[in-house]
């Protein structure tokens, strides 16, 4: 994804050779994630926010909530919107419109995994829980991701950051003052003292498997990504259901390999979700102490 790494052919064969013997440049095995750290509540103006550092990759995610009318034809649903921006701080190539293509690519992959199709049935959040007054008022959640620094595996990093931002998110309590009749417009007051958390148990994480040579690896660095032939990103939730799939890269994949990759992604995701949950609660308790 990142151009101009300037790897020599010796470095390239070192990367490929290391992956072949299950010992990568930074000492990890093929299916090991890098250590990561999460900070929450870093943007006080947002309802929820988190910063994730995964090796040299650094992303911020924020959730902002706005009240609006439910989508036409679906009075029992709230709305979600997901957007990602790549800041030029990550790489000088992202200057001007340079980051737009990658931003769009990442946004689309996240939307595919979190929005759950046109009906919203498989969405990352129970959309019905966002309804305030049926048919009239619902929450619209804006997920914004910002890539500050990039050292590979941006998609997985963004999905983790968004999960953390959502568990940090509190929706202010809405008190309906009038408009409970079907004809009237709703009048409401926001109670900025009381917040209700959003249920994140359904929220999936994305695990990207990057194929380098004959093998595939988890959580590739920028150097490893530059050597990839294909990559499959699988969104998996806590129950182990697949919530979204994206295949990237120029080379075709054997269907049997693809199924194998998905099962590996599923296995990796379960340990990953446990460690994410632990990191999030550690970050939250750190924040409460302050």
């Amino acid at each position: 994804m990142v151009v101009g790494l300037g790897l020599s052919s010796a470095e390239k064969s070192y990367i490929a050779g290391g992956i072949a013997v299950d010992l990568r440049g930074d000492g990890r095995g093929r299916h090991h994630f890098r250590d990561f750290s999460i900070d929450t509540s870093i943007i006080p103006q947002a309802n929820g926010s988190a910063r994730l550092r995964l090796g040299g990759t650094d992303v911020i995610a924020s959730v902002k909530a706005e009240l609006c009318a439910p989508p036409p034809g679906r009075p029992h649903h709230g709305k979600l919107e997901i957007n990602v921006e790549c800041s030029p701080t990550a790489a000088p190539e992202f200057e001007g419109r340079g980051g737009e293509e990658l931003s769009m690519d990442l946004s689309r992959a996240l939307q595919r995994s979190f929005l759950g199709g046109a009906s919203g049935a498989g969405a990352a959040i129970d959309l019905a829980s966002l309804v305030v007054l049926e048919g009239k008022l619902c929450w619209m959640l804006y997920f914004d991701g910002l890539v500050l620094s990039s050292d590979g595996n941006l998609l997985d990093a963004l999905s983790i950051a968004m999960k953390a931002a959502l568990s940090n998110c509190g929706l202010p309590k809405v008190e309906i003052t009038s408009g409970t009749n079907p004809e009237d417009d709703a009048d409401f007051e926001l109670n900025e003292e009381e917040f209700t958390p959003v249920d994140t148990s359904r929220f999936p994480v994305i695990v990207t498997l990057t194929k380098v040579g004959k093998h595939y690896i988890v959580d590739a660095t920028a150097e490893e990504e530059s050597q990839m032939t294909a990559a499959v990103s699988v969104a998996v939730n806590k129950k182990g259901s697949i919530c979204g799939l994206t295949k990237r890269g120029g080379t075709g994949l054997d269907p049997s390999v693809l199924l194998d990759m998905i099962s590996v992604a599923k296995r990796v995701s379960q340990t990953l979700i446990t460690s994410i949950d632990a990191e999030i609660s550690a970050a939250e308790s750190r924040h409460d102490d302050q």
Binding site: I42, I43, Q45, S49, G56, E85, S87, P92, S149
Partner: protein
């Protein structure tokens, strides 16, 4: 609207001549040549420097001095109400230019001919005074990248509301309708390098506000120096054990 209470305190509890809480960190991103975050109260900016490096676009190459470039961007979540700012809106372009000119004046560009220095400023949170905050963050990032500078440049804003000069306006005060004056200083050389103001004021008021902003910028310089010194000490300490 009253911006100053009868007790003489501002909306956020500061006195008129008081700066917001300053916070800075150097070397926040690993893969850049220089990086820094700078916070003034709730305004938070991250600045990153790439370079000096080879000029990317050959036609822009300067034979006798370095090419300095700057891009300013605002995160979608940085403002109170969420809004998408397309790249290259007028305000952003103007700010990029202002930051570039201010930093260009500080950098000893003649020492780095045929090279390019990129400064990227990303606003993470906007609560008034982004202009000043961006310049302070960029100055720290340039120092972190080890780029030779004439003097440390520091910036601060000031305004005039309820017949009182106020230092370092926040967003509410900034939208209060009074003048908003931003000044950037080389404190050792005692030279003003940036001066912007957007409203009509009598000359004597201007002088008061200008003096206040300059004092603020000097205080910021002091703070920047402390942060740089701390960082240098940390680096020196890290280097020490290597000596056998």
């Amino acid at each position: 609207m009253d911006f100053i209470s009868p007790e003489g305190l501002r909306l956020d509890g500061r006195r008129p001549f008081e700066l917001r809480q300053l916070h800075a960190e150097i070397g926040v991103l690993d893969n850049a040549d220089g990086s820094a975050t700078f916070e003034m109260g709730n305004t938070k900016v991250i600045a990153v420097v790439y370079g000096p490096r080879e000029v990317q676009n050959r036609s822009q190459q300067q034979l006798d001095h370095a090419l300095v470039r700057c891009e300013y961007s605002m995160a979608t979540f940085s403002t109170g109400d969420r809004r998408r700012r397309g790249k290259g809106d007028r305000r952003g372009t103007e700010l990029s230019l202002v930051i570039r000119q201010t930093m260009e004046a500080a950098i000893l560009t003649n020492l780095l001919p045929r090279s390019q220095i990129d400064i990227f400023v990303q606003v993470l949170q906007a609560d008034g005074g982004t202009r000043a905050c961006c310049i302070n963050a960029a100055a720290l990032a340039l120092a972190d990248a080890g780029i030779p500078m004439r003097d440390l440049v520091a910036s601060c804003s000031a305004g005039y509301l309820n017949s009182t000069p106020l230092l370092d306006l926040n967003y509410l005060e900034d939208s209060g309708g009074g003048p908003d004056l931003t000044v950037a200083l080389f404190s050792k050389l005692d030279k003003v390098t940036l001066l912007q103001m957007d409203a009509k004021v009598p000359l004597d008021v201007f002088e008061k506000v200008m003096n206040l902003a300059s004092e603020g910028a000097k205080a910021v310089t002091q703070f920047l120096r402390e942060i740089l010194m701390e960082n240098t000490k940390k680096l020196a300490f890290a280097k020490e054990p290597l000596k056998v």
